[in-house]
Symmetry: C2
Amino acid sequence: MQAEILSVGTELLLGHTINADAAYVARELAGLGLDLLQVHTVGDNAGRLATAMAEALGRSEIVITTGGLGPTEDDLTKETVAQVLGLPLEVHTDSLNRLRAYFGDRPISANQYKQAMLPQGAVAFPNDVGTAPGCAVPAGEGHYVLLLPGPPAELLPMLHTYAVPFLQQLHQEVIQSCMVKTFGIGEGVAALQLASLTGNANPTVATYAGDMEMYVRVTAKASTASAALALTEPVIAQVRTLLGDVVYGVDVDGLEDVVVTTLLQRGETLATAESCTGGLLAKRITDRPGASEVFGYGFVTYANEAKKRLLGVPEHILDTHGAVSAATATAMARGAREQSGATYGMAITGIAGPGGGSVHKPVGLVYIALNDSAHTWLRVLQPQGRYPGRERTRRLATSHALDMLRRRLTGLDVEGAWAAH
Amino acid sequence: MQAEILSVGTELLLGHTINADAAYVARELAGLGLDLLQVHTVGDNAGRLATAMAEALGRSEIVITTGGLGPTEDDLTKETVAQVLGLPLEVHTDSLNRLRAYFGDRPISANQYKQAMLPQGAVAFPNDVGTAPGCAVPAGEGHYVLLLPGPPAELLPMLHTYAVPFLQQLHQEVIQSCMVKTFGIGEGVAALQLASLTGNANPTVATYAGDMEMYVRVTAKASTASAALALTEPVIAQVRTLLGDVVYGVDVDGLEDVVVTTLLQRGETLATAESCTGGLLAKRITDRPGASEVFGYGFVTYANEAKKRLLGVPEHILDTHGAVSAATATAMARGAREQSGATYGMAITGIAGPGGGSVHKPVGLVYIALNDSAHTWLRVLQPQGRYPGRERTRRLATSHALDMLRRRLTGLDVEGAWAAH
């Protein structure tokens, strides 16, 4: 079955928004074994959208639109598709009820109301995080147009929960994918280590660069979900063997997920002390519901005075070694643990940039310390190549901190190549 | 002048790569005042590329390709374009010399050599960081095809150094855009309030839903940048008048940007105390380089014990009102300010969910307090309609906190409709 993506939005043609939606949808189509012929981006222009839609339906059975489902006058994807297909728009009761629930006591304006209208005969895809539903519209013998919202926060849940299962059922084959997640290995090296698997036909094995991480997707096709899952299992075991302990989990929701879950299992607790990451480590830990069982105290000690007063970092350490040093990181981690009574103290201090660097302490230099009552582990991140920016530097530092703790909790080498000297 | 982008690469259709190139090129075209009609993405397939190229040249004077200029067999953009235009490929001496310089003593293989071939009559764009040059190929009366490389590290310098000046010399109009940012108004309501402006031809006015915020873009065309900017100014003033004090800035980088900048100007400081947001508020403030001048202390008091010990929240307040209450939020804000010596203390306590809610304190209930030495302001966020999820609840709470502070710093009503009772 052939598919096309039609992305709608003037913001894409002005370059204000990068078309990540097309890649998200493309990945799912590849996972389903659908052949994506092309991606077409047009602005909020009914005439050009109608032309592109008619052309796409002439080539492909499945046309997926992203964007243009919202309440404003610019949002005209649904109206245009209905017109191209000669279908009237009808009130969709479930969507209207959802809209009413969303607005509570507030009135629903006419432009909001239009979101509850769907082309006749469409299968609705509920929007679990916003107001505009998506849908699949029958477009003649074996052809469908799928309408999906533009904002990724709305697109992704709808894609995974409703659109992919809809396409799967058209396609008659069940596909199961598992994502093996790693931290500490690049995609190039991983691809070489996995070379014996990446030619597989079923399950397929593909690497993806994630958010400073690397993921391996193992995808199997079979007639039932359990048969497909059973096919993935030995391959996942091979991936684990080939990549080693950089694998931190399968189908888990990030390093923070593994850390919080493992702390819960062990009945242990963590306190954090952050300088350059300014609360991001605590934020990532508390992203997980239930984190309160394992995390009670976080110290954002951005100022040296705060490091001394809240964490008891000795003045002479700050004077002798500076705030960005292994000694300060160690004292911060110990202070966080002792002040909170937690099992582990985790500290980050560094130079996130873009300012504040020097010859001896360049931008990107970060010290990370993990402390329990018996031992302190350290990693030092040295800037390598081009400065990746403040946000990536901070994110990477928190990922290293979480990786150190997950390694400590599972009995692996904690410091690796990153030990401080 | 109308333009189209034709992106080439199977990796784009598999979703392995997000098509950022199209956005980079689109931004430059908008800046030049060129009207980008559409973006088309095809795989490494000569037939489909040739069809798409012929169609694009039928609609637009300028067609810009990205990708497919490298040395491998998959790279067939240049060959296909030459064929569509009926132009032979010729050795381009400068490019061959550059290739020779790049390889030094190493031999140049046949597939590398093909990179020095350009369609007859093309204007070369040197590749300052790689081996494959780009070019502009004449494609009939006033029409040009521009070939640019796919890797952003090669595309961006070539685009800025050679392709944009080439297009500028063909075209004489400049575009300037400004983004008016708001917090506390929905896109639907804003669109109604701005109805008198959204029909404007120059400058144009358009609304965008941002990350729980709403943006208004004002875009003007003129013969010079300063003339275009001058056209936007009265329209931005009208937008401010129509929307009122929900406008928090123009071309600023989020509420945190305004808060940090205004604190710096006033020589004042902030300390934070967070429960349900777990460090996200501190993280957003420290996203801004230079935040250390205005932010020294952040307390992540996830446990009640931490609220008592670090912030001095009285036990009887926690016992009588509970951790999620106006009284606790007030005590946390005061404690953060007093413990740190900051000008302002800002506290957030609530139920981010999905668990932890009750009849009297449902999931989504959040108290936010801002305290200075003279006064405390409060907002209470009541869950409305459907639960938006943990991440959005936490993000929204921190945006409200930043909005309260920016209103305090600029002398506006701080609590508005959200005051706690």
